[in-house]
Amino acid sequence: MATAKGGMEAASDEARDDSLRTVLIDAAKAAALMLALGVPILLLRTDQDMSNRLVLLPRFGLLAYAVVIGWALGLMRHLGARGRIVFAGLVGLAGYAVKMAAGDGDTIGGFRVDLLAPALSSFGILVVGLLCVTALYLAARSVPESTVERTALHVPEAVEIWGPRVGLLLLAAYPLLALMFAGSAGSIKWIDNFGIQIMIYIMLGWGLNIVVGLAGLLDLGYVAFYAVGAYAYALLATSVIPNTIPELGPWAFWICLPIAGILAAMWGVLLGFPVLRLRGDYLAIVTLAFGEIIRLVLINWIDFTNGYAGISGIPRPSFFGFPFNASDEGFAATFGLEFTPLHRTIFLFYVILALALLTNWATVRLRRLPIGRAWEALREDEIACRSLGINTTNTKLTAFAIGAMFGGFAGSFFAARQGFISPESFTFMESAVILAIVVLGGMGSQVGVAIAAVAMIGGTELLRELDWLKTIFGNDFDPTQYRMLLFGLAMVVLMIWKPRGLISTRAPTVYLKERKAVSGDLVKEGHG
C-alpha cells in the first residue's frame, strides 16, 4: 500500500509541468484566491465608533500581505521537499528583514500600515512582495533535489524499546529539571502550565484511546465524563464531606478519586447503552449531543452546580493527610522543609503522572486480556465479531465504562488542581482537542498519543511564552490570541500530511513466530 502510493506520487511528479509559465499561472491563481477570500473579511474590519455605530476600517496592508502569502504558497507547490524548506526559510528571513527595516509604525493587527496613503503604500508592499518572493522562488528552484527515493521511515528496534523508557525517565525527572533550569520561582509555571497541563491531556488521550483507538467507537463527548469526575469531586469535597464526616477532610481527594471514577464509569454505561446500535459518524454526533446536554444541565441546574458561577474553594489534595500549607501540621513543617507553594505543584505533577501511567498500564494489560482482544476485533469487524459469539453489547459498554472511568479520574484531578471549576471548562472544544490528540497521534498507539499531546498542548501553551514575537510583529501583537487559530490549522495540516496519525504502525498483540508491524493503512479504526 505504502509503496503503491509512493509510486503514484513519483509518477505524478514526472507528469507535473514545472515550466515557469505554469508555475506563475498557478501562483497567480493562488494569489487571486487569497484576494477573493480576504477582500470581505480581512480587508474590512467592523468596529464600533464613539456612538456605538458600526464602521468599517480598511486594512490594505494586511490584504497585501495575504496576497503575497498566497502567491508564495502557489509557488511552493512546484518545489520539491528540499526546495520548499529553502524557500520557506528565505521568505521568512526576507520578511523579518523587511519588518526590521520598516520599524515600528502605526500597526494594525501587527502589520505596519501607513495611515497617510494606505492604498498606495499597500500597493507598494504588494508589488515589492510579489517580486521578492518570485526571485526567492527562482533561487530555491535551483536547489538540487535529492534523487534518492524516499522510503518509509524505519525505526530501529533499539529506539522502539528504549524510546518510551527514556521518555518516562525524562517525565519523572521533569520537575527537577525545571527546578534546575528555571529556579524555584520560575519553575512553578513550567511544572504547572506545561508539565501538569500536558499530563492531564496525555491521560485524557489515553483514556479516550480505549474507546476510539481500541474499540473503534468514535466519541465526541468525552468531556462529559471529565466533567462528571470534576463535579463529583468538587461537590463531595465542598458539601458532603464537611457536613458528614469532617475528620476525613485532608483525605478528601483520595476518597473521592475512586468515587468520581466509578460515577463517571456509570455515566459511561448510561450514555453508552442507548447508542449501541449506532456506528461511525452517527455515534460521534450522538455523543456530542450528550456532552452538550450534560454541559447545559451543569449551567442551568443552579441549585445543584451553581451554574455559570461554578464551584470555588475546592479542597486541594494533601500529601496523604499532610496539607500543603504553612501550618505546623503541614507537609513542610512535618518533613522539616521550608514552606513553598512549589511542593504542592511538584506533588500534583507526580499524582497526575501516576494516574496517567495507571491508565497506560491498564490499557496495555487490557489489550492482552480477552476483553481487549474483543475490543480490537470489534473495531475491525462488528459482524464477524457477532458471528464468532462475542457479546458486542458488553464489549462496547466496558470500553465506554473504562474510558469514562479514566476521564473521571482526570476530571477529579483537574478539580483538585484548579480549586475552582465551572461549565466553561467542559465545552465541546475540549472533546475535540482530546479526540484530535488521539487521532493525530495515531489511534491505538500509546506513544503516538503522548507525542501528540506534548506537541499540540505544549505547542499552544508555548505560544503564551513567545513574547519575543512582539519584536517582529510589533507591540500590538498578542501571540495568545492566535493559540486556537494555530491549533485548528495544525489539525488540518497534520491530517493532510499524515491521515493515519503520527505513529501509524501497530504492534500486533498476537503473532505467529515472528513479530511483524501492521501498517495503519490495514487497520480499520473508526468504522464503528
Binding site: P40, R45, P274, L296, I383, V439, M491, V492
Partner: protein, 318 residues
Amino acid sequence: MEYFVQQLINGITLGSIYGLIAIGYTMVFGIIGMVNFAHGDVFMLSTFIALIVLLLLGSLVTAGGAMIALALLVVLIASMLLTSVWSWAIERIAYRPLRGSFRLAPLISAIGMSIFLMNFVQVVQGPRNKPVPTLIDGGFCIAGQSTPQKTCLIASDGFGINLAYKQIVIVLVTIVLLAAFWYLVQRTSLGRAQRACEQDSKMARLMGIDVDRTVSVTFVMGAALAAVAGLLYMLQYNVVSFSDGFVPGVKAFTAAVLGGIGSLPGAVLGGLIIGLIESLWSAYFSIDYKDVAAFSILAITLIFLPSGLLGKPEVEKV
C-alpha cells in the same frame, strides 16, 4: 390560542433558517458521506460577510423603501458569492486531499477547520458582538387591540398576534431560493451529475462525470444557501458574533438528521420541526433548556429512527 399561533409564526421563521443551513449538511453527507463540521462556521462567516457588505452600502440602506430592498438583494448576492469562494477553498484545501483516506481523517480535518474559522474571524474581526442596525421594521397586526398607530385585522383582547415584515421576508426568501435550488438539482445536468454521484460515485466517474468538480459544486451550493441563512439570521437577531456558528450548526445538523440525512425535502422539513419545537419549548417550558431539547431530539432521532423521517433506510452489506 393567540399565543400559540404567535409561537408558530416565530417557529416557522426560525425553522426556515435552520432548513437552509441543513441542506448544506445533508447534500455533503449524501455525496461524500462526511459530516462537514465546519459548515456551521461557514454560516457564521457568511453573517460577517453580509454585515460588511451591508456597511459598505451604508448610504443606500438609510434611504429607505425600495432602496432597502435593492440593498438587501445586493448584499444577498455578494454574500452568496463570497461565502461560496470560502467554502470552495475549504473543500479544496482541507477535504479533497483526504478523500479516499480513512473515514475519521476528513472529520478531524473538518473539526480543525471549524476551530480555525471561528478563531480566524475572532482575530480579524474582533471578539465583540456586532450590533446590526434594524433594516426591516414594523409588521402586520393580525390579532390584538387596534391603536391609532396600528390597525389589527381581528380585534382581540388577548396576547395578540404580530407578523413582522422581516418574518415575511425570511419565509418568502427561503421559499423562492428553495424552489430555485430544487429546480437546479432536479432539472439541470449539474443536478443530475450530483444525484448520480450520490448514488454511486465510482459508477458516475465511469460514466464520465467529473466527481471532484461535482463535489466542489455541492460545497458551493451548500455555502450559498448558508449565506442566505446568514443574512436572514442577521435580519432576525440584529447581532453578529464569531461564536454564533456552533449552536445553529448543530441544530441544523439535527434538522438534517431528523429529516433523513441525504434527503433535501427532509432537511427543510427537519428544519421547520426543529424551529417549531424550539420556539414552542421556549414558550411553554423553559427557555434555558431549549438547546437541551434540540440536542435531545438529535439523540432520540438517531437512536430510534436513524434513517430520519424521509430518509432511505441504510442496508448493511457484508
